[in-house]
């Protein structure tokens, strides 16, 4: 079925030492960029793309792909070690990853994050190669009503990350949605809550706020509430704790497989990215877990779900790009630009006209995973030492990096202010036991949800029927109802047991 010449051309591309070198350089650079909070994959790919215009396509494009993959993985490293997600997609990773680090199991967390990422990425790449075309033809049928319902399903995950108080979770999520509505109205262009401030026209920048809420508030917490140092001088175990056992990883295979399929599906929908996939995967894993109470307190399942969910998005986001020439997310939009500058227009014509190059790219994607594993393991050897650095040295360095990162996103000093405000808000929330995750989810999903709902209502001339009259939206609506019912049922069972014991008498007397 596959043309032999195509196969040969693809393999030749892989065999070129320059391709290999470019890929390795991109991957190593990507991990570093992802690990620095504020420097995002999108930024890196956008800034470096013009330089690849002067390179051969077989060097320039693998270089950019390496950066993309490396950066998404790299974001999990600071999330685990210092509770500072390097990218927005790693926000869910920080919950359980950092909890594990606090328990002295940073090595295990880093290894699990690496293995989940590599496995998810590998499987999603196979999906890209095998079923890109059928999957894409389903994905393109998804219109605004379906997106609105998907966003709504994602928003129900607030319940799973709220911690002890659902009410506090809802308040935090509402605050997130409110902050997300600042800026120019996406449809009519009116200014909302900008108070005449030009810097707020584009909305509150997400990355600086995220860095502030996680990193700065963590630093403030360390300052006012230093954790008790377990001072067992005769440490028998190696620093960073023990390594991940094979049995532990093997036990996680249903979680990883589930999160990977979810991430792959969400990634193949143009417009949904890793930031959303990680939270849905996380919430789903908690719902299916036998020990949901461990989530947020160092659950291996939670960490594996978040990391495999966000990494599966990377190859999947290439599906709409290769099949239709439509960007799956902002990074693939930049990649399309880079491909165009090489005289190759991604989309149906590329499959017909240059199948060898495309096949080579797919092979490159698979090889990247092997390289990622090697680079990652090498990095962990050093990274596990980070916990050895005294907090008085570590946190000032983290703060400096955060300030640089927040500034770099938009080269705007106003973003530094957002970072500080976010840090203060995060600190107050932690002290008053408000969960931060629901706020982040509200902030991430708010703009997309709003646009999708309002676009749907323009489609339907204001009729809500559009949310159940289409086959796709009907299925999603039923799914949403099921999610809510399951959650409600679980909650009632939990509360009902208590009620049964205490209210058995009054119920009887009432029924007379």
């Amino acid at each position: 079925m596959i043309d032999l010449a195509v196969l040969q051309q693809g393999l030749a591309m892989l065999a070129s030492p320059w391709t290999f070198l470019a890929l390795s350089a991109g991957l190593a650079g990507g991990i570093l960029i992802g690990a620095l909070p504020g420097l995002t994959a999108t930024m890196a790919v956008a800034v470096l793309a013009p330089f690849t215009f002067f390179m051969e396509a077989t060097i320039g494009i693998p270089f950019l792909l390496g950066i993309y993959k490396g950066a998404i993985y790299g974001g999990s490293i600071p999330a685990i070690l210092v509770n500072t997600p390097g990218t927005a997609a790693a926000a869910a990773t920080a919950r359980d990853g950092y909890a594990l680090t606090q328990q002295g199991k940073s090595r295990k967390a880093l290894e699990l994050s690496l293995y989940s990422s590599v496995v998810a990425d590998f499987l999603a790449t196979l999906v890209l190669i095998m079923v890109a075309i059928p999957l894409a033809s389903i994905a393109i049928r998804f219109g605004s009503p379906e997106f609105a319902l998907l966003y709504l399903i994602a928003l129900t995950m607030i319940a799973t990350v709220s911690g002890e108080s659902f009410l506090k979770g809802l308040i935090a999520a509402g605050l997130g949605l409110l902050v997300a509505s600042i800026g120019l109205d996406p449809m009519s262009g009116y200014q909302r809550f900008t108070f005449g401030n030009t810097d707020l026209l584009g909305g509150v920048s997400l990355i600086p706020l995220l860095i502030g809420m996680f990193a700065l508030s963590e630093i403030l917490m360390q300052l006012t509430h230093p954790p008790e140092r377990t001072n067992d001088a005769g440490q028998a175990v190696e620093h960073g704790g023990e390594r991940l056992k094979w049995a532990e990883f093997w036990a996680l295979r249903p979680t990883i497989l589930r999160s990977t399929s979810l991430g792959t599906f969400l990634g193949s929908l143009p417009g949904l990215g890793a930031e959303i996939a990680c939270w849905i995967a996380y919430g789903l894993a908690r719902g299916r877990s036998r020990e949901p109470e461990r989530f947020g307190k160092g659950s291996l399942e939670g960490l594996a779900a978040a990391e495999s969910g966000n990494n599966a998005v990377v190859p999947a986001a290439l599906i709409p790009m290769t099949v239709f020439g439509i960007p799956g997310d902002t990074i693939t939009a930049v990649l399309i630009g880079a491909l165009m500058a090489q005289g190759m227009m991604p989309g149906p014509l590329l499959i017909q006209q240059n199948p060898g190059f495309l096949f080579g790219l797919f092979l490159v994607l698979l090889v990247t995973n092997v390289l990622l594993l090697i680079f990652g393991l090498a990095a962990i050897r050093w990274l596990k030492q980070v916990t050895r650095i005294p907090p008085t040295v570590l946190y000032p360095c983290v703060l400096l990096l955060c300030l640089c990162g927040a500034y770099a996103v938009n080269s705007s000093t106003f973003d530094l202010l957002i970072l500080v405000v976010g840090g203060g808000l995060g600190y107050v929330m932690r002290r008053t036991h408000f969960p931060i995750a629901p706020l982040i989810i509200g902030l991430l999903l708010g703009p997309g949800f709003e646009s999708a709902v309002r676009q749907s209502l323009v489609f339907s001339n204001g009729s809500l029927a559009i949310f159940w009259s289409r086959p796709g939206s009907l299925i999603l609506l039923i799914l949403l109802a099921l999610v809510i019912l399951t959650m409600a049922w679980r909650g009632l069972v939990k509360a009902g047991v208590i009620r049964k014991r205490s209210k058995s008498h009054p119920t009887k007397s009432n029924n007379i």
Partner: protein, 322 residues
């Protein structure tokens, strides 16, 4: 009395030295630009046609402008954030906006934005592209005349993909609706990518966009071209008529041009304009621009200023009449 003399001699000597130094510098560079890099601001998020063009301009530009160019990608507010920032920067040629008609001609007139049209002076137009009205092969209309007819028979039933309020697509559809006197509904999807996706997915029925966005689908046959919003046919797709040929007076050229904040000295504007002209004549630059499916229709600062003033007046008439 010896002291004043000494002072005077010293003064004269240092003046001479300063003059010599200054002349030397002018001879070496002949530039009115401050000796620092130029920030070239793209007002949209990375990935669109603006950032592609800007990437090439900033990568090749130093040789022709005599200063390194730093590409600043500053999205937000449909371009308003970047425009307001450049408008408020020091007017000495060190910060330039990569502008377009929606940012520099249309929106400041119809929206309440933190900058005015007169906050900018034109430096150079790099190129322009027309919009191509398109639909999918399974729609009941396959020409612009049939689209208008269909919309007349089913008022408000034709739903099209739009980009942003007062954006490129939005504007040409408003023009079509006004000249043909029809009712259609636009869904603002935020950009060319999602707009084409919704059209291909059968959720909307028509779209009008940049040839770089729709071109590939025209070649593959997944989209059908209806008409071009220019006075001449688009070379690469010569079989698509202009809207004027079909009897609808919709002409809109979406230019990409360099704008400087108002108050920038004339000699700096002229020098920048010359620099960009030399850049757009460079073979390597033209090859790269060709590879992204674009071309060059350069206008120097004087001609560009005239064209811009005419466009701003035309849009004022079209929009503020009703």
């Amino acid at each position: 009395m010896s002291r004043p003399l000494l002072t005077r001699t010293f003064l004269a000597a240092s003046l001479a030295a300063a003059t010599a130094l200054a002349t030397g510098q002018v001879l070496a560079e002949e530039s009115h630009l401050p000796d620092e890099p130029i920030r070239f601001v793209t007002p949209y998020p990375a990935g669109g046609s603006h950032s592609l063009h800007a990437g090439i301009i900033t990568a090749v530009g130093e040789e022709f402008l005599g200063r390194p160019l730093i590409s600043v990608i500053r999205g937000g507010g449909g371009g308003a954030v970047a425009a307001a920032e450049v408008a408020g920067s020091t007017p000495n040629g060190t910060m330039l906006l990569f502008g377009d008609p929606t940012i520099n001609s249309l929106r400041p007139q119809v929206e309440d934005l933190p900058y005015e049209m007169d906050d900018f002076v034109p430096v150079a137009r790099i190129n322009y592209s027309p919009a191509i009205f398109v639909t999918t092969p399974d729609q009941p209309f396959q020409s612009i005349g049939e689209l208008v007819e269909h919309a007349e028979e089913n008022p408000g039933e034709v739903v099209y993909s739009s980009d942003n309020r007062n954006g490129f697509t939005y504007t040409v559809f408003e023009m079509l609706k006004a000249t043909a006197d029809i009712e259609m509904r636009g869904v603002e999807l935020g950009g060319g990518g999602p707009a084409v996706t919704q059209l291909l997915g059968g959720n909307t029925m028509a779209y009008a966009g940049d040839p770089s966005v729709v071109g590939e689908h025209l070649e593959a046959g997944s989209l059908v071209g209806l008409c071009v919003t220019d006075t001449e046919r688009f070379e690469a797709y010569g079989d698509i008529p202009t809207c004027q040929e079909e009897g609808y007076d919709v002409v809109f050229q979406f230019w990409r041009g360099v704008m400087a904040p108002a108050g920038t000295p004339d000699e700096v504007i002229a020098e920048l304009s010359d620099g960009f002209q030399r850049l757009t004549e460079d073979e390597g630059f033209l090859r790269l621009i060709g590879q992204i499916g674009s071309g060059i229709q350069f206008l120097g600062h004087e001609e560009f200023a005239e064209a811009l003033a005419a466009e701003q007046a035309a849009l004022r008439d079209a929009y503020l009449d009703d």
